[in-house]
């Protein structure tokens, strides 16, 4: 279970998160939505300790992330797969090595036979051929990079998966493929997922619950049905994809 209580974060004079409370239950997929620049990715990076809050508590499996020692944080990170917005693949090594680095067990990482089998298995899970192993990231398309990024995140069999804008920059067909993949992984691996997105359609297709971040706070956190029925102006504006002359414009 992931719990965020009163998260406050500012960069210089700009307050990005202003007392965010957010909970993710075991086994569910939560879509964290909001217009660009509202701090969704910043919030996501708090969960695995890539960014530390100025105030507030982040609790993952009863462990308070900002109080963990370095070694404890490393161990926690091995249970959390993170899919970066632009893949963040290591561009100097091939697909095999990229995914192999996701193996959290050092024995498995050093065992080349196991690593090769596991990398092939992860590639199949994200609908890529094992033949792609020898390619460099520069030889992959945008959609393939995203899928390799997901394969790397699941290689260590994490309990949680955090997706940062997994469909941004993709055409609608490839975006649907990634959305289906997120849903498939949730069912196949039983992982708990948090997906940052501004793609309303994708979020409604994939998520069990949704959260809307605006003005540094969670405006609404609920089921897709609760979102549809909400009369909150920011929720309505976001669902109608009309951010002009709405509270978002301010």
């Amino acid at each position: 279970m992931i719990e965020l209580h009163g998260i406050y974060k500012r960069f210089g004079e700009q307050v990005v998160l202003d007392g965010v409370d957010f909970t993710v239950q075991e086994g569910e997929t939560v879509a964290l939505m909001g217009p660009s620049g509202t701090g969704k990715s910043v919030l996501l990076k708090h969960i695995n300790g890539l960014i530390r809050p100025d105030a507030g508590r982040i609790i993952v499996d009863d462990r308070e992330v900002n109080r963990l020692t370095r070694d404890e944080l490393t161990e926690l990170r091995k249970t959390i797969g993170y899919v970066f917005q632009y893949g963040a693949l290591f561009d100097s090594v091939d697909v095999f090595e990229n995914i192999r680095l996701g193996l959290s067990d050092e024995g498995q990482y050093g065992d080349m036979t196991f690593a090769r089998d596991r990398v092939a298995e992860c590639l199949k899970l994200v609908n890529l051929s094992p033949d792609e192993m020898k390619k460099l990231p520069s030889q992959l398309s945008g959609g393939m990079k995203k899928r390799v990024g997901i394969a790397r995140a699941i290689a260590g069999s994490p309990k949680y998966l955090l997706y940062d804008e997994p469909t941004s920059g993709l055409d609608p067909v490839n975006a649907d493929v990634i959305d289906d993949l997120v849903k498939h992984l949730e069912q196949a691996l039983g992982v708990t997922s948090v997906m940052v997105t501004h793609d309303v359609r994708g979020a409604f297709r994939v998520a069990d619950r949704l959260a809307l971040l605006s003005g540094g706070q969670i405006v609404l956190h609920g089921t897709p049905e609760e979102f549809r029925q909400s009369d909150h102006p920011k929720v309505q504006a976001f669902l109608q994809r009309d951010f002009t002359d709405t509270p978002f414009a301010a």
């Binding site: 490393t74 632009y86 290591f90 680095l101």
Partner: protein, 261 residues
């Protein structure tokens, strides 16, 4: 004038705080390096790869610069030559100048540009494209994967390249001085050996070792702490080269004072 006087304390304060922040972050990086040494299975193979890359990649430019530097040293020695001195002194002069000063310092400054810019740009690009965040999110140490191999490669390869540079510069100086003055091979060899002390060679390598450490550490630090996209990478790269070069000059002075006096 009054406005400038009022702003001065604030400016100085920010400057001092900025400097202290750099010292603090650099200290944390060094502490991370020592922690990362335990993961030798990760950094040992990467150190070999990095060493081979910067060694083989830098050898041509090192030999070229050393050759020209040796030749110019010989021509200038010939220009300032007094006929009252025995000619074998030329061998002493050229070898000492190259081994004690020109070889390590010139190669250090050249490699501050070549290796320093490369390290800062590589790590800076990795930072702004979230590759370093990705490594951390996988529970892996950027120190053992990225920084230790680069710093160790610079520490190892600077002395190795300096040995090549010293030999090349001496050979070029030897050949060149024969073109401008009536010096025989025997005279040059006698002069080179007459005042030669093994410590001179060690001193050259000690300097190169320190210069390598400065280049590796400063460049990795700058690249690792890059911010703000492509502009940030450019800024880190420039700062890495300038800071490494300045540190080489400072270390050169300190080492001369400590080891030669």
């Amino acid at each position: 004038m009054t406005a400038i006087a009022l702003r001065l304390p604030g400016f100085l304060g920010r400057l001092i705080l900025g400097g202290l922040a750099h010292v603090g972050r650099l200290s944390l990086l060094v502490a991370e390096l020592f922690r990362g040494l335990a993961e030798w299975r990760i950094w040992v193979p990467r150190t070999f790869t990095e060493s081979a890359n910067i060694g083989a990649g830098s050898l041509f430019i090192v030999l070229l610069i050393a050759g020209f530097a040796g030749a110019v040293t010989a021509f200038q020695a010939g220009y300032q030559w007094q006929t009252s001195l025995p000619v074998y002194v030329l061998g002493t002069l050229i070898v000492s100048t190259i081994v004690l000063e020109l070889g390590p310092v010139l190669i250090g400054l050249v490699l501050a540009g070549r290796i320093g810019a490369r390290y800062a740009a590589e790590l800076g690009t990795m930072r702004v494209t979230e590759q370093i965040d990705a490594l951390e999110s996988l529970g892996r140490s950027p120190a053992s994967h990225l920084i230790i191999p680069r710093v160790l490669a610079a520490l190892i390869m600077l002395p190795v390249l300096t040995i090549f540079a010293d030999f090349m510069a001496v050979l070029a100086g030897w050949w060149s001085v024969k073109q401008v003055l009536p010096v025989t091979d025997e005279d040059f060899a006698y002069g080179a050996q007459y005042f030669w002390r093994p410590f001179d060679g060690y001193y050259s390598l000690i300097k190169a070792f320190f210069f390598g450490g400065a280049i590796g550490l400063i460049s990795c630090y700058m690249g690792f702490n890059t911010q703000q996209g492509a502009e940030g990478v450019g800024k880190s790269t420039t700062t890495a080269v300038v800071a490494s070069s300045v540190m080489i000059l400072i270390l050169n002075t300190l080492l001369a004072k400590i080891l030669l006096n």
